[in-house]
């Protein structure tokens, strides 16, 4: 009789603990993060104020492409890349940009000025356009001597919340 009683007590204690943990997890409001693709057609317009050229100081391990002159990534995915020399003031466009999600999106921009003009600050203007409507417009400046590398966030709101639906920061 005693062993059966001991087993029952153990079941009650363990069952209570499991029930407690389960209810605590549900009430804590944890939920898995799911990114929802943003609707609409996105495009980018990038205008460097200086001539960009391939980076002679790029890491080249042999497996990657030629060194880039300009790269734009959206949420870690490359959407625009130029490996040739591009004159200053030339707008570069990337259409049908995929990978934008509802909520915050991270854009990364990298542009390489010519070595001969590396000791000056340089600027690049980036516009993000959704279905023909501009949702972000930012200008980034480099420090003299280094290539321009910038990360910025663009909030994309769900389609039904139209209006002032996004901003950079």
């Amino acid at each position: 009789m005693r062993p059966v009683l001991a087993v029952c007590v153990w079941f009650v204690l363990l069952g209570g603990l499991v029930l407690f943990m389960h209810s605590k997890h549900e009430s804590s409001g944890f939920r898995s993060f799911e990114s929802k693709p943003a609707t609409g057609g996105f495009s980018l317009e990038v205008t460097p104020t200086f001539a960009v050229e391939p980076d002679p100081f790029a890491l080249r391990t042999g497996s990657e492409e030629q060194p880039a002159a300009l790269v734009v990534k959206v949420n870690g995915k490359e959407v625009l890349r130029r490996e040739d020399k591009v004159d200053g003031g030339t707008p570069l466009a990337a259409h049908n940009v995929s990978g934008m999600i509802e909520g915050p999106n991270e854009l990364y921009l990298e542009a390489n000025p010519p070595l001969e003009r590396a000791n000056r600050a340089h600027a690049v203007r980036v516009k993000v356009i959704r279905d023909g409507e501009q949702i972000a417009d930012r200008t980034f400046w480099s420090e003299p001597g280094v290539k321009l590398a910038a990360t910025f966030r663009v909030d994309v709101r769900p389609r039904e919340e139209k209006g002032k639906d996004a901003h950079g920061h």
Binding site: F57, T61, L115, A118, N119, P144, G145
Partner: protein, 306 residues
Amino acid sequence: MLRFFMVFVCLALMMPTGLAAQQSAPTDFSARKPMLVCSTTQIADFARQIVGDRCDVRCILAPGADPHTYMPTPGDAQLTLKADLCLQNGLHLEGKNWMATLARDARKPLVTCTDGIKPMVLEQEGEKINDPHSWFTPRNAAVYVNNIVRAVSELDPAGKSGYEARARLYLQQLRVLDAWIREQFNVIPPQRRILVTSHDAFNYFAEEYGFKNRAPVGWSTGAEIGAGMTPERRKLVIESIREFGVKAVFVETSVNPKLVREIATEARVKIGGKLYSDSMGEAGSAGETYIGMMRENVLTIIGALK
């Protein structure tokens, strides 16, 4: 007799297979650090910037030693035997290819860090010679770095991400160094940018930053074609000093300064200072790293010529 013959044939067939298996098997570096043996101080510094503490980096040349005339010692051969990878400059900087000989004798893989650099061609005594002093521009130093990253990543794939991350940072430092040098040399008028040094080591540097360079000793201090001092070169240097109104001449840390001192006395110019050339500085000195060496050279040149 037939049995012995069969055994011999079997062993002979097995040997190459065993060797191939030994060569293709990746080395396990969980118990010890990979050892890199470098010929010059510059290459050792590049390697240290990339591998951090993950590898043991050794250098054959001591700070201030001359790679053109260096004679390897039995200690160098023993060190090379322990190496997992050997790194050399190439383009005959290592006189009589001593690093390649050490690596070959020890049967160790050898990487030439100048692979991929378009060498400057010097015409001396009717011969065309590739100038080996290509580390003197940060842009070329980036090629050295990339060659080393590839080689160590292949040797030790487990450390690849760390090697690449360190290399990315170091390449950015080289870029900043290059921009800084261009900015600094703005204070020297172009007509005063004449660099007179002990031996012809600064061609890449001069080309990149708009200098004319003159040296009484050729591309090597050794006995190769186009190397050493000739009366014609000495005369040309003194004429150039007078023609361009050169304010100062420079001695090098790895070359005997006697000849440049004589020229300075004859041409009545001052010694502008000591430049790091084929070798970097002692540990603890400002020139113990590549970036430090380049920085100090630039400041020495500006101090004497501006």
